[in-house]
């Protein structure tokens, strides 16, 4: 599924190369097996087993301590009438759709800004990376309340402009936005990947463009952005997978509850509560596979769309 687009690209390149090439390339099956050996061993020995087990458990009633009881489609049936599941899906979708593009835009903007042309960049880069190190720290729980709480900095600041509502963390309508801000704030990872990608771009293109008198903005849109599309694509795919699975931040900021009144109940947090607090690991496993299907669909869509906007050098 997710490789659909990938597959097409591969096939297309092969055909193109095959027809126009100097020689017919032979497949590298043997060499590939060698290069992929560690991954294959890991897949078989470490990954497949637990995944298969969780798939099996998805069709059972499993309380962690006693043998799982096979219950057929009961868990799926339960999903259909599960209000909290619907709520957690909604929360997670909003979170993914809003926070991933926002975070990427900020990361890309800062990466371009920090790439070259300003002195002291290594220090700036390191400093701007620091928030990402804190993203999962317990300190965040305290901090976020101090910033977005009822007496928090932001609330007080907004009060000067006539806002007299509650703090954002305690209002079900706004609590999620504080987690989106937290996610955007930890833009360090995509920023670094963008930086590395920017350094890979061939210099000659810029030199040529400069001598032709193209402005920096023009250069950004006609050279940087297209050449960076594989990296943008990568960050997008991983950003989506990562934020669908987002757990720690909501767990820490809401003290594990997902509140107020389930307004920050991320899918993974709900799954965790079901599995580890309520001992319904069978249902949690079913939820996990639902998540896998959703993420898989998004990723496949992404790969499919990528052939229209991602530009590869090969």
């Amino acid at each position: 599924m997710s490789a659909l687009g990938e597959f097409r690209t591969l096939r297309r390149t092969r055909v193109r190369r095959g027809s126009g090439a100097k020689r017919e390339e032979t497949p590298d099956n043997k060499a590939a097996a060698l290069f992929l050996a560690p991954w294959l061993v890991g897949l078989v020995a470490i990954t497949v087993g637990p995944m298969a087990a969780s798939l099996y458990l998805a069709f059972t009633d499993y309380n962690l301590l006693q043998d799982p009881q096979f219950t057929g489609l009961d868990n799926i049936q339960r999903m259909l009438s599960d209000d909290r599941l619907a709520q957690s899906l909604q929360v997670t979708f909003v979170y993914v759709v809003v926070s991933v593009p926002l975070q990427l835009a900020v990361a890309l903007g800062l990466a371009v800004l920090l790439d070259r042309g300003v002195r002291g960049l290594p220090l700036y880069r390191s400093i701007l990376y620091l928030p990402s190190l804190l993203g999962t720290s317990v300190a965040i729980a305290i901090l976020w309340r101090m910033i977005f709480g009822n007496e928090g900095l932001v609330t007080r600041f907004l009060a000067h402009f006539g806002y007299d509502g509650p703090g954002w963390v305690s209002d079900p309508d706004t609590a999620l936005s504080t987690l989106i801000i937290l996610h955007v704030w930890t833009f360090g990872a995509p920023m670094v990947i963008f930086l590395a990608g920017l350094r890979q771009l061939p210099r000659e293109l810029y030199e040529a463009a400069s001598t032709e008198g193209a402005s920096r903005t023009r250069q950004f849109f006609s050279i940087t952005l297209p050449l960076l599309t594989p990296i943008i694509f990568f960050n997008l795919v991983l950003g989506i997978i990562g934020s669908f699975q987002s757990f720690t931040q909501a767990f820490i900021v809401s003290n594990g509850i997902g509140g107020p009144s389930d307004s920050t109940l991320f899918f993974s947090l709900y799954l965790y509560q079901e599995g580890f607090t309520s001992f319904r690991m069978g249902y949690a496993s079913a939820l996990a596979w639902l998540l896998l299907i959703i993420i898989g669909a998004f990723t496949a869509l992404n790969f499919w769309a990528s052939k229209y906007w991602v530009f590869y050098n090969d």
Binding site: A3, F35, W39, Q200, F234, G275
Partner: protein, 310 residues
Amino acid sequence: MTDASRTTPRPAPPSLPDPAPASDPDPVRRSGRSARGRVSSVLKHTGLVVVCFLMLYPLLWMVASSFRPNDDIFTDFGLFVDTFDFDHYPTGWDALGHPFDTYLVNSLLVVLGSVIGNLVSCSMAAYAFARMRFRAKPVAFTVMLITIMLPIHVLIIPQYVVYAQIGWINTYLPLIVPKFLATDAFFIFLMVQFIRGIPRELDEAARIDGAGHGRIFAQIMLPLMVPALATTAVFTFLWTWNDFFTQLIFVTDPAKYTVPVALRSFIDAQMTSDFGAMFAMSVVSLVPVFLVFLFGQRFLLRGIATTGGK
């Protein structure tokens, strides 16, 4: 606000040269810098400093809190510290049954193993995916991506069962060995994307010269992949350094605890916890990470241009 003053603009610290001075992109612009250029530069720095400050506020607050008496921590938003309390550092260092360097060393061990593992296994797999033609490649690629889509909370128990059967619980093996087996597919994908950005002519030429995959990989690809490898290394370092859940579950002996697990054991919701000491040790644990990043970015940003790819 001593901490903030470190980010004051203008004179760049002379001790921190740009990592790639040789590749100054725009000598024309720089030599011909006009008054307008200077203004824009000042603006840029001011902007950056403001952004940095906003971004850093929470971190600075944490540092400030590590010097505050415990009962001020939850009531004081500011970055100014009225009464300095240096005790948190020595107390925190010795608060957990083992001196804190035990945990630092433990984390370092796990991190080093993970970094090496990821570098070796993921680069090999990525090369195969990006540059080789083999049967079932799309399937394999799909499977690879799928393996990172299941949340850890449903995998941890079966994993524990497997590791318990082979006697790996309470060792670092469950944390390190999987990295040597490329289970962090994230990095395979990262490297695939990077390799695909490298012009094919480079390895094509070598191939015509009769080089096999082994040589192309080792002598051409790896040097060109330095930014991707550095990214992988830096990220593996950071994420392993911060990973709490698996390290908590698989390592049970307090003497073997890693930094994130140790940091949590400062806090218990039902009793008085030494938050000051926890913050102090959090600051301590950030130092290695910050250093790795500060010096690691040299490699991270060393693109094709400086590795003699042309």
